[in-house]
């Protein structure tokens, strides 16, 4: 067991290096360096000598690999430089906005579970009957609507026409989280309803279910005590993995609802070409995503020796 965890952690190292390296290269590819931006922001022209001095001070005259190492040390110690625009330390800003995004992600995930599991089960149990068709139809619609379109429609109906919820996020208490949550959860729920349905159907066709049926166990009992338990694992794993797309999806929704999280921060930073902020966003989002996956994997494996063995084989 320990061996597996250590192994997974070791595997993480090249990935993390890759993430930081890629982000670093990406930012190097951008046209301007910090000194050019500084010149722009102060409004005054700097002489080439002044610029060179500033570059030396920031270590920008060093060869790239050396710059990368210096920069990586900064990242590890929470020093990711200062925003080109506001001059605030990037990491502090990021950390201060992260809770809002995470709160939104968590509520969306919970709502997704609340919608997709009952609907998916119902759909599977009533396969090829009215409820199944209806749920599948609705999930198709949910799956085909871009989330920015959904947000606009939700705002229009629920904020303007009905006046139930506020338009802007972070403004008036708990109510403001509802519409952004719904926007994010609708698309995800549509996707997972279909997956829940497929998983439950697969389980229903397994031999032990047929056997139970043959022994005369009641359908409901089979469903709740065997099939659901068995399906849950797959479903919950899928949900844990969906955190990635959720983290990315918040960017659009946060900007529309003025939700003051890291997604909106990133979109704002992009319009301003505030590279250090974009960089912090990319790296930390990727790291969070990787860690969530890792934790899921490890615990999953703790309890299922079969998977552990299989993975070790594949990994080795």
């Amino acid at each position: 067991m320990k061996k597996y965890i250590v192994k997974r952690l070791l595997q993480l190292i090249p990935i993390l290096i890759g993430i930081t390296l890629l982000s670093f290269i990406l930012m190097q590819a951008s046209a301007m360096d910090a000194v050019d931006v500084m010149e722009q922001n102060t409004g005054g022209a700097m002489s080439e000598a002044e610029k060179a001095a500033a570059r030396e001070e920031l270590g920008l005259d060093k060869p790239l690999p050396e710059q990368y190492v210096v920069w990586l040390k900064g990242v590890l110690t929470g020093d990711m430089g200062k925003s080109f625009v506001s001059g605030q330390p990037v990491f502090t800003t990021f950390v201060s906005k992260l809770p809002a995004t995470i709160a939104l992600a968590v509520t969306s995930l919970l709502l997704t579970v609340l919608i997709s599991i009952p609907c998916g089960i119902l759909s599977a149990v009533k396969q090829n009957r009215f409820w199944d068709y209806l749920i599948r139809f609705l999930s198709f619609i949910g799956n085909s609507l871009p989330n920015f379109f959904v947000s606009l429609l939700l705002i229009y109906f629920f904020s303007l026409k009905l006046g139930w919820f506020p338009v802007m996020g972070n403004a008036r208490g708990w109510k403001s989280i509802i519409l952004p949550t719904f926007t994010l959860a609708l698309a995800m729920a549509a996707k997972y309803t279909r997956q829940v349905r497929a998983t439950v159907l697969e389980e229903l066709n397994k031999e032990y279910v047929q056997g139970a049926r043959a022994r005369g166990v009641r359908e409901n009992r089979i469903l709740y005590f065997s099939v659901l338990k068995a399906s849950m694992l797959t479903i919950v794993t899928l949900l844990a993995l969906s955190i990635g797309s959720l983290l990315g999806g918040t960017a659009i929704v946060e900007s529309i609802f003025m939700w003051d999280g890291v997604g909106k921060m990133a979109v704002d930073a992009i319009t301003m070409r505030d590279y250090p902020v974009i960089q912090a966003y990319v790296i930390w989002m990727a790291v969070i995503y990787v860690l969530v996956n890792l934790v899921t994997d490890i615990i999953y494996c703790c309890l299922d020796p079969r998977i552990r063995m299989g993975q070790e084989e594949a990994g080795g």
Binding site: M168, A171, T237
Partner: protein
């Protein structure tokens, strides 16, 4: 059977990290605590929500420190700071923190301050405090330094004496620029850019790009502010702001998209609109060979449909411009003329200049190259992308290809010289005096003369302007100067902004002001 139990355990196991994550994260979700306090402010307290598009770093208004870029605009707009003099609705100067002034000679100004004013820090406003503030201003703020040309300031009780290096006829006007907000330098500037001013409200929380919180200044010198708390929300998205206004989340809003103004035409909303000297204009790059040809510049000027742009795209919220100043100025649009929209004539001019569509692709060319204009502009002023797209279509009619580059990062394209026409918005007479526009944009040494425009005639007129103290004389010079740049077609002025503030139910005392920077005042109230 064993298999089943196993599955059960595993399900729990996978749920665990999820719940863990959820708990951990919602624990961090401290963001919700401050929202609750906003909700609780009910018992008799007057809380006001104000939506604004401009309080952000993009507009160089990252805090409320008047000595930092254009942040003075935020300082004065939100009633935090006040200047020595201010403008009336007719753009005439009035005393504000100053009681009166006197010019003892061309270079010396004696300003008497009011004696009943205190800063929100508790310090009394005297000449010494004003001196400290202005000294700091000219030492850190390039634009102010260039405008004011201060040699020395001396303080004696309530009397502030300013000596300039050379005659500065518009000194009082410049002191009324938002950068001239008098703040207490002893209290200093906080880390988040907050200052102690003399205005009706005090900022308690300043968050770049997000907004600020203002509370009533109990010791305000000019009446009692009527609201207890004001939340200024930076809402960069005009549509979100529209809907927030409709749903009642905002009590008033500045910078709503024109397309949504009709939604507020009826009760309970009121719209206060005013013509401002904020103009949208294009600046020609004289480094572009094609644009060095007078005929090409004129053809371009003739292929912009200003009338339809203001009437249709701006929904009538603006007037088609001739020059930089709207008609309500003595040196405004009524006194000058610019080329009218005339695609026929424009085509003819291009042909005379040797530009013909020889390959039949719809664009005129010369030596095998199409006439292509790189139009650089930025999106934070909603009119600019509209102008770009409209120009793109009308110039295409004439045979000019326009590549629009609309980016918040426009400055880097200007710096790299990757542009032919730069379209921007600028308040051309923020102080009611015309000289400012020319000194910033049109002269050899102007910092915003981005296209390298030069005119001997203009330089000569500016020499006269520099030392002209008589208002009428200045107006006349301004007219001549405007006509000069228009005849050269170095600038094309598309329209003047009509600024609108929408107030919700029960809101009084919020009036749009022609100079665009007096918004929240002591009169603002909500019933």
């Amino acid at each position: 059977m064993r298999k089943k139990r196993l599955f059960h355990k595993k399900a729990g196991a996978v749920l665990l990290p999820l719940c863990l994550a959820a708990g951990l994260l919602s624990g961090c979700g401290g963001g919700s605590t401050d929202t609750k306090t906003e909700d609780n402010a009910s018992a008799g307290e007057k809380v006001f929500y104000y939506g604004d598009t401009t309080f952000n770093a993009e507009n160089d208004e990252s805090d409320v420190n008047p000595h930092n870029g254009y942040s003075g605009w935020a300082c004065i707009r939100y009633g935090i700071g006040e200047t020595l003099f201010k403008y009336s609705d007719k753009m005439e100067l009035e005393p504000w923190l100053a009681a009166e002034y006197e010019m003892t000679d061309e270079n010396t100004w004696k300003i008497t301050l009011r004696d009943n004013v205190t800063f929100s820090s508790g310090r009394r406003l005297d000449a010494q405090a004003a001196k400290e503030c202005l000294d700091d201003l000219v030492s850190v703020h390039e634009r102010a330094k260039g405008d004011l040309k201060i040699k020395e300031i001396s303080a004696d009780g309530q009397i502030l004496t300013i000596t300039t290096e050379e005659p500065v006829p518009a000194l009082i006007n410049y002191l009324s620029d938002p950068y001239g907000c008098i703040v207490d330098m002893e209290a200093g500037v906080s880390e988040d850019g907050n200052v102690a001013g003399t205005g009706p409200y005090i900022a308690t929380e300043v968050k770049t790009d997000t907004g600020l919180t203002l509370v009533k200044n109990e010791n305000y010198w000019d009446g009692e502010p009527k609201l207890d708390t004001i939340h200024v929300k930076t809402i960069s998205d005009g549509d979100t702001m529209t809907m927030a206004m409709q749903s009642g989340e905002l009590d008033a809003a500045y910078g709503l998209p024109y397309a949504s103004l009709p939604l507020f035409a009826e009760k309970p909303y009121t719209i206060s609109s005013v013509e401002t000297s904020r103009s949208f204009f294009g600046q020609m790059n004289y480094d572009t060979p094609a644009l060095q040809d007078e005929k090409v510049r004129k053809a371009i000027a003739m292929s912009i449909d200003k009338e339809n742009f203001t009437k249709t795209l701006l929904d009538g919220n603006g007037t088609a411009a001739e020059g930089p100043f709207p008609a309500n100025f003595a040196f405004g649009d009524d006194t000058v003329t610019a080329p009218k929209y005339n695609p026929e004539e424009a085509r003819k001019l291009l042909e005379e200049a040797g530009w013909k569509d020889s390959d039949g692709d719809g664009y005129v060319d010369k030596n095998g190259e199409n006439l292509t204009i790189r139009w650089v502009t930025y999106p934070s002023r909603q009119e600019l992308p509209l102008l770009a797209e409209s120009v793109q279509a009308t110039m295409k009619e004439v045979g000019i290809k326009v590549d629009v580059n609309c980016s918040a990062d426009f400055q880097s394209f200007l710096d790299k010289g990757e542009w032919d026409i730069y379209a921007g918005a600028f308040v051309c007479a923020p102080t009611g005096d015309p000289e400012y526009f020319f000194t910033t944009h049109c002269l050899d040494e102007s910092s915003k003369n981005r296209g390298g425009y030069h005119s001997d005639k203009l330089q000569a007129l500016e020499e006269e302007m520099k030392s002209a103290f008589d208002t009428e004389k200045r107006a006349e010079l301004a007219t001549q100067m405007t006509q000069t740049i228009l005849d050269d077609n170095a600038f094309i002025f598309a329209s003047h902004l009509k600024m609108s503030i929408v107030s919700g139910e029960g809101v009084t005392g919020l009036e749009a002001h022609p100079c665009d920077y007096y918004e929240i005042t002591v009169d603002l109230d909500k019933n």
